[in-house]
Symmetry: C2
Amino acid sequence: MTPAARRVLEAAGRLFYERGIHAVGVDLIAAEAGVTKKTLYDRFGSKEQLVVEYLADRDERWRAFLAPRLAASASPQGRVLAVFDASRDWTNANSPRGCSMVNAHAEIDDPSHPAYALINGQKQWMLTLLTDLVRPLVPATADSLGRTLMLIHEGALVAHGLRIFPGALDHAREQAAILLAGAADPGSAN
Amino acid sequence: MTPAARRVLEAAGRLFYERGIHAVGVDLIAAEAGVTKKTLYDRFGSKEQLVVEYLADRDERWRAFLAPRLAASASPQGRVLAVFDASRDWTNANSPRGCSMVNAHAEIDDPSHPAYALINGQKQWMLTLLTDLVRPLVPATADSLGRTLMLIHEGALVAHGLRIFPGALDHAREQAAILLAGAADPGSAN
DNA sequence: CGTCGAGTATACAGATCGGTTTAGTATGGA
DNA sequence: TCCATACTAAACCGATCTGTATACTCGACG
């Protein structure tokens, strides 16, 4: 990726996330990147493709942010909680307005849009991750617990983005810890 | 509200929800409503105001949908579960693409936009409702349990809208029931 | 009978949209 | 030296955007 392309992607990412995809025009992106529209179209071809690369880049950076924290956790419980810790730090630093995938989904109705598969894939990856992390703890009910953790996690991202109440991700982490403790205990419902 | 205004609001609500607010122009709304643009602007004044009335109307209809189900439940537990049941039926009938408030929020960056207060008010209303419903059960920890239920509920709406896994609202209801059962039990955490 | 509100039809305005085109500059490697 | 790549500058395209203006019809109501 050329330096100009990197600046375009940075500007597009910032503007798309803060103002919404349809609300941001390519002229503004080019201007903010200090680049002409010709360069933008030479590198990305279309606004649609730029949207796809924006989402792919954000997902990639999130996974790179999460990976070392997962690797640093020794226990399954610790790894699940590391996901919530990482989400808290990530949202505080990069996502005041909630999940970029969810927000982008709100603006894209066409399921054949190339961003659709990316958005769905990202959520499936998170669900699979959480489910796989709890499988050693609760082999029989890993799917159910994974889904519950997913709901709490997604709910916390929304609550954070809409400022429903402060500390949503901390609260989510607490509840996740309780669920994990209850799951480890044999006589528990789930 | 005149018949033409009602048709405009119906068309706007359908199109805004299905395609996104910025993706739908007033010309299309007027055409779908079988109305001229002049009539639309005579009744609503601006697209922004139409957006506000779209969200207000949807919120009003949701509350009207929920109210009798709450009234029909005798116990606090039953009323909380009635919220999840109502959400499941409502989303199946009206919200294949998730919460209209969350989706609208993704498209509105300006906190001074009149829709902002409406969106925030709707979420605060839901949080207060859930918290007040569990207060008789757990007077000391109602705020915490209300927030947890809110996270699960919002997460389920997102999971439903993004098709993360099927039956998200049923799963949310199950988990809510477990939380309520655990909360009623004295020796429990939370 | 007269008036007023609600509506249609249509043209228009100015801005912005995504995207293209033409022309030219600077750089670095074969 | 030659040539491809990366870029700037700026004009241009047709379409669409929100919003307005003009002129008219129709029915209800006093």
